[in-house]
Protein backbone atom coordinates (compact mmCIF):
# COMPACT_ATOMS: atom_id res chain seq x y z
CA UNK A 1 0.00 0.00 0.00
CA UNK A 2 2.80 2.37 0.89
CA UNK A 3 4.32 1.97 -2.50
CA UNK A 4 1.06 1.66 -4.40
CA UNK A 5 -0.59 4.83 -3.20
CA UNK A 6 1.60 7.80 -3.63
CA UNK A 7 -0.55 10.63 -2.30
CA UNK A 8 -0.17 13.90 -4.02
CA UNK A 9 0.60 12.31 -7.31
CA UNK A 10 -1.84 12.16 -10.17
CA UNK A 11 -4.02 9.46 -8.73
CA UNK A 12 -7.48 10.90 -8.25
CA UNK A 13 -9.22 10.66 -4.89
CA UNK A 14 -11.08 7.40 -4.88
CA UNK A 15 -14.71 7.33 -3.92
CA UNK A 16 -13.71 5.12 -0.99
CA UNK A 17 -16.43 2.68 -1.77
CA UNK A 18 -15.68 -0.52 0.04
CA UNK A 19 -14.15 -3.12 -2.21
CA UNK A 20 -15.97 -6.35 -2.74
CA UNK A 21 -19.42 -4.88 -2.51
CA UNK A 22 -21.01 -6.08 -5.67
CA UNK A 23 -24.42 -4.75 -6.54
CA UNK A 24 -27.25 -7.21 -6.43
CA UNK A 25 -28.78 -8.38 -9.65
CA UNK A 26 -31.77 -6.55 -8.35
CA UNK A 27 -34.64 -6.96 -10.73
CA UNK A 28 -34.01 -10.68 -10.91
CA UNK A 29 -33.84 -10.91 -7.14
CA UNK A 30 -37.09 -9.00 -6.71
CA UNK A 31 -38.78 -11.32 -9.19
CA UNK A 32 -37.54 -14.37 -7.34
CA UNK A 33 -38.76 -12.99 -4.03
CA UNK A 34 -42.18 -12.24 -5.48
CA UNK A 35 -42.30 -15.79 -6.79
CA UNK A 36 -41.68 -17.09 -3.27
CA UNK A 37 -38.16 -18.40 -3.96
CA UNK A 38 -36.88 -19.35 -0.52
CA UNK A 39 -33.25 -19.57 -1.64
CA UNK A 40 -33.32 -15.98 -2.82
CA UNK A 41 -34.79 -14.82 0.46
CA UNK A 42 -32.42 -16.91 2.51
CA UNK A 43 -29.34 -15.59 0.67
CA UNK A 44 -30.48 -12.02 1.15
CA UNK A 45 -31.13 -12.60 4.83
CA UNK A 46 -27.71 -14.19 5.38
CA UNK A 47 -26.07 -11.30 3.66
CA UNK A 48 -27.89 -8.31 5.10
CA UNK A 49 -29.41 -9.24 8.43
CA UNK A 50 -26.30 -8.74 10.60
CA UNK A 51 -25.75 -5.25 9.17
CA UNK A 52 -29.42 -4.45 9.75
CA UNK A 53 -29.10 -5.43 13.40
CA UNK A 54 -26.02 -3.23 13.74
CA UNK A 55 -27.81 -0.33 12.13
CA UNK A 56 -30.80 -0.77 14.45
CA UNK A 57 -28.42 -0.80 17.41
CA UNK A 58 -27.52 2.81 16.67
CA UNK A 59 -31.08 3.74 17.68
CA UNK A 60 -32.20 1.23 20.27
CA UNK A 61 -30.58 0.08 23.45
CA UNK A 62 -30.44 -3.66 23.46
CA UNK A 63 -29.35 -6.22 20.93
CA UNK A 64 -32.60 -8.12 21.51
CA UNK A 65 -34.66 -5.09 20.52
CA UNK A 66 -32.38 -4.42 17.53
CA UNK A 67 -32.87 -8.04 16.46
CA UNK A 68 -36.66 -7.54 16.61
CA UNK A 69 -36.45 -4.33 14.62
CA UNK A 70 -34.40 -6.03 11.91
CA UNK A 71 -36.71 -9.04 11.77
CA UNK A 72 -39.65 -6.71 11.55
CA UNK A 73 -38.03 -4.93 8.63
CA UNK A 74 -37.87 -8.23 6.72
CA UNK A 75 -41.58 -8.70 7.24
CA UNK A 76 -42.01 -5.15 5.97
CA UNK A 77 -40.04 -6.14 2.88
CA UNK A 78 -42.32 -9.09 2.24
CA UNK A 79 -45.41 -6.94 2.64
CA UNK A 80 -44.05 -4.30 0.31
CA UNK A 81 -42.26 -6.39 -2.30
CA UNK A 82 -45.23 -6.43 -4.67
CA UNK A 83 -45.22 -2.67 -4.88
CA UNK A 84 -41.44 -2.15 -4.74
CA UNK A 85 -40.62 0.07 -7.69
CA UNK A 86 -36.87 -0.03 -7.53
CA UNK A 87 -36.38 3.69 -7.15
CA UNK A 88 -33.72 2.92 -4.58
CA UNK A 89 -31.76 -0.29 -4.31
CA UNK A 90 -33.40 -3.09 -2.39
CA UNK A 91 -30.61 -2.84 0.16
CA UNK A 92 -31.11 0.91 0.65
CA UNK A 93 -34.82 0.33 0.98
CA UNK A 94 -34.31 -2.32 3.68
CA UNK A 95 -31.87 -0.13 5.60
CA UNK A 96 -34.36 2.70 5.39
CA UNK A 97 -37.12 0.48 6.84
CA UNK A 98 -34.76 -0.51 9.65
CA UNK A 99 -33.93 3.11 10.39
CA UNK A 100 -37.58 4.15 10.51
CA UNK A 101 -38.58 1.28 12.73
CA UNK A 102 -35.60 1.69 14.99
CA UNK A 103 -36.35 5.37 15.41
CA UNK A 104 -39.95 4.77 16.42
CA UNK A 105 -38.95 1.90 18.70
CA UNK A 106 -36.15 3.97 20.17
CA UNK A 107 -38.54 6.81 20.88
CA UNK A 108 -40.90 4.42 22.59
CA UNK A 109 -38.19 3.09 24.85
CA UNK A 110 -37.00 6.66 25.30
CA UNK A 111 -33.50 5.81 24.29
CA UNK A 112 -32.64 9.19 22.94
CA UNK A 113 -29.63 9.49 20.80
CA UNK A 114 -26.85 11.07 22.73
CA UNK A 115 -25.98 14.41 21.22
CA UNK A 116 -23.08 14.07 18.84
CA UNK A 117 -19.97 15.18 20.55
CA UNK A 118 -17.81 17.46 18.53
CA UNK A 119 -14.66 16.45 20.26
CA UNK A 120 -12.01 14.90 18.11
CA UNK A 121 -9.20 12.72 19.22
CA UNK A 122 -6.78 15.13 17.67
CA UNK A 123 -6.78 17.57 20.50
CA UNK A 124 -4.81 15.18 22.64
CA UNK A 125 -1.32 16.48 22.23
CA UNK A 126 -0.50 15.01 18.85
CA UNK A 127 0.02 18.55 17.60
CA UNK A 128 2.10 21.43 18.85
CA UNK A 129 0.56 24.80 19.61
CA UNK A 130 1.53 25.78 16.09
CA UNK A 131 -0.39 22.87 14.62
CA UNK A 132 2.48 20.60 13.54
CA UNK A 133 2.89 16.96 14.49
CA UNK A 134 4.57 16.37 17.84
CA UNK A 135 4.58 12.62 17.28
CA UNK A 136 4.13 12.05 13.56
CA UNK A 137 2.41 8.88 12.44
CA UNK A 138 4.80 6.04 11.79
CA UNK A 139 4.72 3.76 8.82
CA UNK A 140 2.34 0.82 9.13
CA UNK A 141 3.82 -2.34 7.81
CA UNK A 142 1.93 -4.06 5.02
CA UNK A 143 1.12 -6.98 7.26
CA UNK A 144 -1.43 -4.78 9.03
CA UNK A 145 -3.73 -5.39 6.12
CA UNK A 146 -3.23 -9.12 6.25
CA UNK A 147 -3.78 -9.14 9.97
CA UNK A 148 -7.32 -7.81 9.56
CA UNK A 149 -8.37 -11.35 8.83
CA UNK A 150 -6.91 -12.35 12.17
CA UNK A 151 -9.82 -12.43 14.61
CA UNK A 152 -8.00 -10.28 17.16
CA UNK A 153 -7.56 -7.27 14.90
CA UNK A 154 -11.00 -7.59 13.32
CA UNK A 155 -12.38 -7.79 16.85
CA UNK A 156 -10.56 -4.61 17.77
CA UNK A 157 -12.05 -2.83 14.76
CA UNK A 158 -15.54 -4.02 15.72
CA UNK A 159 -14.94 -2.74 19.24
CA UNK A 160 -13.80 0.61 17.94
CA UNK A 161 -16.96 0.83 15.84
CA UNK A 162 -19.11 -0.16 18.82
CA UNK A 163 -17.57 2.61 20.92
CA UNK A 164 -18.50 5.33 18.42
CA UNK A 165 -21.41 7.68 19.04
CA UNK A 166 -24.53 6.37 17.24
CA UNK A 167 -24.53 8.74 14.29
CA UNK A 168 -20.90 8.04 13.47
CA UNK A 169 -21.46 4.34 13.91
CA UNK A 170 -24.41 4.31 11.52
CA UNK A 171 -22.57 6.26 8.83
CA UNK A 172 -19.30 4.35 8.93
CA UNK A 173 -21.12 1.02 8.99
CA UNK A 174 -23.15 1.88 5.91
CA UNK A 175 -20.40 3.65 3.99
CA UNK A 176 -17.21 1.77 4.76
CA UNK A 177 -18.33 -1.62 6.02
CA UNK A 178 -21.34 -2.11 3.74
CA UNK A 179 -19.99 -0.04 0.86
CA UNK A 180 -23.02 2.17 0.17
CA UNK A 181 -22.58 5.50 -1.59
CA UNK A 182 -22.84 8.77 0.26
CA UNK A 183 -26.10 9.57 -1.53
CA UNK A 184 -27.60 6.29 -0.36
CA UNK A 185 -26.45 6.85 3.21
CA UNK A 186 -27.88 10.38 3.29
CA UNK A 187 -31.24 9.03 2.11
CA UNK A 188 -31.28 6.14 4.58
CA UNK A 189 -30.37 8.27 7.59
CA UNK A 190 -32.09 11.42 6.36
CA UNK A 191 -29.05 13.61 6.86
CA UNK A 192 -27.31 16.16 4.67
CA UNK A 193 -24.25 15.39 2.59
CA UNK A 194 -22.14 17.68 4.77
CA UNK A 195 -23.33 16.13 8.00
CA UNK A 196 -22.72 12.69 6.59
CA UNK A 197 -19.14 13.62 5.72
CA UNK A 198 -18.44 15.05 9.17
CA UNK A 199 -19.77 11.93 10.90
CA UNK A 200 -17.85 9.68 8.53
CA UNK A 201 -14.65 11.62 9.08
CA UNK A 202 -14.93 11.47 12.86
CA UNK A 203 -15.64 7.78 12.77
CA UNK A 204 -12.70 7.02 10.49
CA UNK A 205 -10.46 9.23 12.59
CA UNK A 206 -11.27 7.31 15.74
CA UNK A 207 -10.95 3.93 14.10
CA UNK A 208 -7.58 4.90 12.63
CA UNK A 209 -6.46 5.93 16.11
CA UNK A 210 -7.64 2.62 17.56
CA UNK A 211 -5.73 0.73 14.87
CA UNK A 212 -2.65 2.81 15.53
CA UNK A 213 -2.72 1.76 19.16
CA UNK A 214 -3.14 -1.82 18.10
CA UNK A 215 -0.33 -1.71 15.58
CA UNK A 216 2.13 0.21 17.72
CA UNK A 217 1.69 -0.94 21.28
Amino acid sequence: MASGTRPGSEDPPDDTRAPGSTPFAESELVERLRAGDETAFSELVERLHPAMVRLALTRVRSRAVAEEVAQDAWLGLLRGIETFEGRSSLRSWLFRIVTNRAISTGLKERAHLPVEDGELEHRDGRFSQDGWWVTPPTHWADEVIDRITAPALAGRVHEAIAELPPGQRAVVTLRDVEGLTSAEVCAILDISEGNQRVLLHRARTRIRAALEQEVIP
Binding site: M1, T5, P7, G8, P12, P13, D14, D15, T16, A18, P19, G20, S21, G36, E38, F41, S42, V45, E46, R47, H49, P50, R54, E67, A70, Q71, W74, L75, L78, R79, H122, R126, F127, D130, G131, W132, W133, P136, P137, T138, W140, V144, I145, I148, T149, P151, V157, H158, D176, V177, G179, S182, R197, L200, H201, R204, T205, I207, R208, L211
Partner: protein, 84 residues
Protein backbone atom coordinates in the same frame (compact mmCIF):
# COMPACT_ATOMS: atom_id res chain seq x y z
CA UNK B 1 -1.96 24.65 5.97
CA UNK B 2 -0.80 22.93 9.11
CA UNK B 3 -0.89 19.30 10.13
CA UNK B 4 -3.83 19.73 12.51
CA UNK B 5 -5.83 21.34 9.71
CA UNK B 6 -4.73 18.72 7.22
CA UNK B 7 -6.04 15.81 9.26
CA UNK B 8 -9.49 17.38 9.46
CA UNK B 9 -9.79 17.54 5.68
CA UNK B 10 -8.81 14.01 4.74
CA UNK B 11 -12.32 12.64 4.18
CA UNK B 12 -13.37 15.72 2.24
CA UNK B 13 -10.25 15.27 0.11
CA UNK B 14 -10.91 11.60 -0.50
CA UNK B 15 -14.52 12.38 -1.43
CA UNK B 16 -13.29 15.06 -3.80
CA UNK B 17 -15.25 17.70 -1.94
CA UNK B 18 -12.53 20.28 -1.34
CA UNK B 19 -12.74 23.59 -3.19
CA UNK B 20 -9.90 23.92 -5.71
CA UNK B 21 -7.77 26.32 -3.67
CA UNK B 22 -8.06 24.24 -0.51
CA UNK B 23 -7.31 21.13 -2.47
CA UNK B 24 -4.07 22.53 -3.81
CA UNK B 25 -3.04 23.69 -0.33
CA UNK B 26 -3.82 20.20 0.91
CA UNK B 27 -1.73 18.61 -1.81
CA UNK B 28 1.08 21.03 -1.30
CA UNK B 29 1.21 20.22 2.40
CA UNK B 30 1.09 16.55 1.54
CA UNK B 31 4.11 16.81 -0.70
CA UNK B 32 6.14 18.51 2.02
CA UNK B 33 5.10 16.68 5.17
CA UNK B 34 6.04 13.00 5.65
CA UNK B 35 3.91 12.78 8.81
CA UNK B 36 0.77 13.80 6.98
CA UNK B 37 1.64 11.63 4.03
CA UNK B 38 1.79 8.62 6.34
CA UNK B 39 -1.41 9.78 7.99
CA UNK B 40 -3.21 9.79 4.65
CA UNK B 41 -1.90 6.32 3.85
CA UNK B 42 -3.09 5.07 7.24
CA UNK B 43 -6.47 6.65 6.65
CA UNK B 44 -6.83 4.87 3.34
CA UNK B 45 -5.68 1.65 4.98
CA UNK B 46 -8.31 2.10 7.68
CA UNK B 47 -11.04 2.55 5.08
CA UNK B 48 -9.88 -0.46 3.16
CA UNK B 49 -9.77 -2.58 6.34
CA UNK B 50 -13.32 -1.57 7.20
CA UNK B 51 -14.41 -2.87 3.83
CA UNK B 52 -12.74 -6.21 4.48
CA UNK B 53 -14.09 -7.02 7.92
CA UNK B 54 -15.15 -10.64 8.14
CA UNK B 55 -18.92 -10.79 7.96
CA UNK B 56 -20.88 -11.63 11.04
CA UNK B 57 -23.55 -14.24 10.68
CA UNK B 58 -27.20 -14.25 11.55
CA UNK B 59 -28.20 -16.16 14.68
CA UNK B 60 -29.92 -19.52 14.35
CA UNK B 61 -33.22 -18.44 15.95
CA UNK B 62 -33.45 -15.33 13.76
CA UNK B 63 -32.83 -17.38 10.62
CA UNK B 64 -35.48 -19.91 11.60
CA UNK B 65 -37.99 -17.21 12.44
CA UNK B 66 -37.46 -15.41 9.14
CA UNK B 67 -37.59 -18.52 7.00
CA UNK B 68 -40.81 -19.55 8.75
CA UNK B 69 -42.25 -16.12 8.13
CA UNK B 70 -41.25 -16.37 4.48
CA UNK B 71 -42.88 -19.79 4.10
CA UNK B 72 -46.06 -18.46 5.67
CA UNK B 73 -46.00 -15.40 3.43
CA UNK B 74 -45.40 -17.55 0.36
CA UNK B 75 -48.37 -19.75 1.22
CA UNK B 76 -50.58 -16.69 1.12
CA UNK B 77 -50.71 -16.14 4.86
CA UNK B 78 -50.20 -12.79 6.47
CA UNK B 79 -46.61 -11.70 6.48
CA UNK B 80 -46.83 -10.25 9.93
CA UNK B 81 -46.16 -13.45 11.73
CA UNK B 82 -45.03 -12.59 15.16
CA UNK B 83 -43.42 -14.53 17.91
CA UNK B 84 -45.81 -16.85 19.69
Amino acid sequence: MKCNEFVELVTAYLEDQLPADQRSEFEEHLSLCPGCERYLVQFRTTISLLGQLPEESITGPARTHLLDAFAEWGSGGAADVSDP
